[in-house]
């Protein structure tokens, strides 16, 4: 009884405390940066924009807070939450603890799309990098789905098709960069490939935020359908779940969320793969708790990692995808070691 109660209390604490932690993280993260702004200055700008009284900073300084730090921090939180949720869904539905949002080939498709725009000039300047990335992501996902369904439609076929697509699109990306890009373009593309939130805008926050929010709502409202997959899809079917419909709905949803996230942030690894495992260690495997917990942990994690990535090596900036792995892997190793006796 005690372990159960402990887990429930812990979950309750986590779910009440975590939104506060997310809010505090965002508030804290925007006070950090290379520009010489005090905490009071920063909140003065936010207060100004929210109509709480004017800020006495210069317009450039205000811009740093309102147009650079704040959207970037919010976007980090949104991407972190979204990637973690996608990881939970894919790991549960594909019954594969190694599944993550990129297993469906989405990220490499996105990179090919982005590179086609930036390097090859596809679309003649009418399409932005993120549009290209989004289209590439969807194309790759469509290829994976067609390949998987033609080869039998089972989850292991889906994972194999995803691996094939990942290889193909990575090769295409390298091919384009290798044959057509100049040094400047290569550097820009590489930075994006490694994951970066440095181009975040309020527009990105709006688009990405609404897609991820919609995704969260759908996932939360189907949480126990995901539970039903614990013993495989036949077992789910005997529990009254429409397996084909659930799988299609959730796969398309994760593809859409991942495509939108990748199109604004590049390929940020680690979050979708590892944070669901951390969340399971904290609250157990029931999706009604696991999904919100993963979202909150993902948001807090990426907010702080991105803050570290943009400040630690000042004036250089580290691609956030590099930072997630550098900071995340040792943290994860610690958790693994602590839980080895469970």
């Amino acid at each position: 009884m005690t372990s159960r109660r402990l887990a429930l209390t812990r979950a309750g604490l986590l779910l009440t405390a975590a939104p506060v932690v997310v809010l505090l993280s965002v508030a804290g993260a925007i006070t950090v940066g290379p520009s010489d702004l005090s905490t009071a200055d920063v909140f003065g700008v936010v207060g100004d924009r929210l109509g709480l009284g004017p800020s006495d900073l210069t317009l450039i300084q205000q811009g740093i807070v309102w147009d650079l730090r704040l959207p970037r921090t919010l976007l980090a939180g949104i991407c972190g939450a979204g990637l973690a949720i996608c990881g939970v869904i894919l790991q549960s539905m594909l019954r594969n603890p190694l599944a993550d949002p990129f297993v469906l080939g989405i990220s490499s498709g996105a990179s090919t799309g982005a590179v086609s725009i930036v390097v090859l000039g596809v679309g003649g300047g009418t399409l932005g990098l993120s549009t290209g990335a989004f289209l590439g992501a969807l194309a790759s996902f469509a290829l994976v789905m067609v390949l998987a369904s033609l080869s039998g439609g089972t989850t292991d076929r889906l994972v194999l098709a995803g691996i094939a697509a990942t290889q193909l699109f990575s090769a295409l990306t390298s091919f384009i960069v290798f044959t057509a890009a100049d040094a400047e373009q290569t550097r820009g593309v590489l930075f994006w490939l490694l994951g970066s939130l440095s181009a975040a805008s309020w527009g990105d926050v709006a688009v990405c935020g609404s897609v991820v929010l919609a995704g969260l709502v759908v996932c939360f409202s189907t949480a126990s359908w995901l539970d039903a997959f614990a013993f495989g899809s036949d077992a789910a079917a005997t529990l009254g779940i429409n397996v084909a419909l659930t799988r299609a709905l959730l796969l398309v949803l994760t593809a859409l969320m991942t495509a939108v996230i990748v199109s604004v942030s590049g390929a940020i690894g680690f979050v979708g793969l590892v944070l669901p495992h951390l969340a399971r260690a904290l609250v157990g495997v029931g999706h009604r708790l696991l999904l919100p917990t993963s979202a909150l942990i993902g948001a807090v994690f990426l907010v702080w990692v991105d803050t570290a990535a943009r400040t630690l090596l000042d004036p250089q900036e580290l691609p956030v995808g590099v930072a997630t792995a550098l900071i995340g892997v040792p943290a994860f190793a610690l958790i693994l070691l602590r839980n080895r006796h469970r």
Binding site: S3, R4, R95, S224, D234, A237, L239, V285
Partner: protein
């Protein structure tokens, strides 16, 4: 809701489950060949037959997980095919043979899966859900393991947890696929006693003819996808039938209602 034309006359008890000339094939190989049988409410019915005779597949068809190519399965008076999936899962629960999960579920989590067809997907676990989980666990004598990890259970305990999960669905009919597989003799006997004791109609695929004879009200014997015999165990499980279907020379000893089968040699 359409009532089947072949539904029995109103004077007789409506069967819990009616299987009417069901055919199912995979890759053009006939696995289930015009199987018909009925199960009365409260009965424990054994499905017998050698490996590959179609027992598991027939159970999957009964569960609605496989759709028959021809024929009908009727639950009470309602055709299974026209029943919504959730409704089906409330009336009919399945215990599959050796299921596994990579997730570290608690026994309680496993049993609670049975509540999924009985609540909205976003609804939290209610006090009633917890009650049903507790009662199911008590009935299957696994209540002291509720907060233990499912992975740490023995084979027999896992089977009991799965049966408790099935009971938590509060079904009218329970379908079990070789639930005694890999269990030692004691656990085989206690599990069969549990299944017959439970207040639901059960259809059990079994390998062990003596277990079937001792615990089933009626048995059906499948051979190459067809029902070759059906009825009281004592009248079905004859030396002649065992020889023909299983290819084994057996000595069948009858002592009142008690049936004992000794296997001598493969034919």
């Amino acid at each position: 809701m359409t009532v089947m034309q072949t539904s029995p006359p109103v004077t007789s008890l409506t069967p819990a489950l009616t299987v009417d000339r069901v055919v199912w094939s995979a890759r053009r190989r006939l696995i289930i060949d015009r199987v018909s049988l009925t199960v009365q409410p409260g009965e424990t019915v054994g499905l017998l037959g050698p490996n590959g005779s179609g027992k598991s597949t027939l159970l999957r068809v009964l569960a609605g997980v496989r759709t028959p190519d021809e024929g009908h399965v009727t639950l009470g008076a309602i055709p299974l095919a026209s029943m919504p999936k959730r409704e089906r899962a409330r009336r009919l629960a399945v215990v599959e043979q050796e299921v596994s999960s990579d997730l570290d579920l608690l026994v309680r989590d496993v049993i609670e899966l049975g509540r999924i067809p009985r609540r909205q997907p976003w609804a939290p676990t209610s006090a009633h859900d917890r009650d049903v989980v507790q009662r199911s666990a008590e009935l299957t004598e696994i209540a002291d393991r509720l907060d233990q990890s499912y992975l740490t259970l023995s084979g027999g305990e896992r089977q009991r947890a799965q049966i408790a999960r099935a009971l938590a669905q509060e079904p009218e009919i329970l379908l079990l696929d070789e639930p005694t597989n890999h269990l030692d003799v004691r656990h085989q006997l206690s599990l069969m006693a549990l299944i017959t004791r439970m207040p639901v109609t059960s259809v059990v695929a079994l390998h062990d003819l003596n277990l079937a004879a001792a615990h089933c009200d009626r048995v059906f014997v499948l051979d190459a996808g067809r029902v070759v015999a059906g009825g009281w165990p004592a009248e079905v499980l004859t030396r002649e039938l065992i020889g023909r279907v299983y290819g084994v020379d057996a000595h069948v000893q009858r002592d009142g209602d008690d049936l004992r089968i000794h296997f001598r040699a493969a034919l």
